[in-house]
Symmetry: C2
Subunit: 216 residues, 2 copies
Amino acid sequence: MYTLYSMHRGGNSYKARLALAMLDIPYHLVNIDILRGESRTPTFLALNPSGQVPLLEVGPQHYIAESNAILWFLADGGPLVPTDPVSRAQTLQWMFFEQHSLEPNIGSAYFWMVLVKGGRELHAYSLEDWTEKGYRALQVMDNHLKHHAYFGIDCFNIADIALYATAHLAGECEFDLSPFTNVRAWLKRVERQPGFVTVDWRPEQPVPQHDATVRA
Amino acid sequence: MYTLYSMHRGGNSYKARLALAMLDIPYHLVNIDILRGESRTPTFLALNPSGQVPLLEVGPQHYIAESNAILWFLADGGPLVPTDPVSRAQTLQWMFFEQHSLEPNIGSAYFWMVLVKGGRELHAYSLEDWTEKGYRALQVMDNHLKHHAYFGIDCFNIADIALYATAHLAGECEFDLSPFTNVRAWLKRVERQPGFVTVDWRPEQPVPQHDATVRA
């Protein structure tokens, strides 16, 4: 059984848990609280020298880091990754877009505005930048969704899981999603997919412990 | 034959050209000068709504954006992408790291400090942040290279192409690479790979036109 090292209220970690749930893969969960430095202990750094979660242990001494690499590993060969080379590359295209243009802005805004006390004041200048770039990325997504139901072009796939895990956090950190009609409709479509799980994103809620696939 | 839309002195575009050269794939090159707004024209936005280069045309009306998705498309099935699932995911892991932790810092620093006149003053605050995070990413790379010759773990693969295209720019925009002994040795090893091509990164140099694989 895989072991997932995960931050309960981290968008990238949630992404891995969402994929595991949608693919109905049981796993052992280890909660890591990065706010308490648990991803920077010598023990954790020996597993992942970059000190980041999520981290998937796939065998003795074999680890995969980076949420979207974990998604690809879990889903390739199944229905959530296409088989023809162009569609596979376009799926990766949206996953790289998510990590380059969406997550560094919306994920950072959520982290510093919601999770870290005093983070809003500490990063006031960056917040302006994250907001501007976050809206730009949401607009690119909204434009795509004018003509397509999903980012797997016309069917739901792991690119949707990657983008959903970050994009839906925009609503948790003061982005105004009302102009992004297509994004809002797509978020709802993703939430109706089989196996969908969610998280109570409010920081004061207790962190559940799981040792298997978790259902919403 | 593929058509590559490329910014001559952009790290991400160079990455695609480097992969095409190393894989010995001929291509038609269209130079796009993003500093002159050529990636924001209605014609270009019709091809890639996110307005970014590189962009690879792989067939009539079929395009792949995001440099690392282009690399995967070009190289998968060949010697520069491994075949076993864990190694494939670890290759993607380093490619996501490149787009998330290295390129937004070193790529941005090069773009605004070297290519854009007045960019250094305009982004003085961000430069501090990019510098700090860029050094952190270089340290993660240097730590990996203490125990491995390449990011394809023990052989050169497309993760090395992705990381090289960005990391070597650090030297063009005032990062001090002298403490990163392992990174410096690895840069030289990459430069000795068959098919390696380089770019004259100084902004005042003319932009060459090519319609085929380019050799250094």
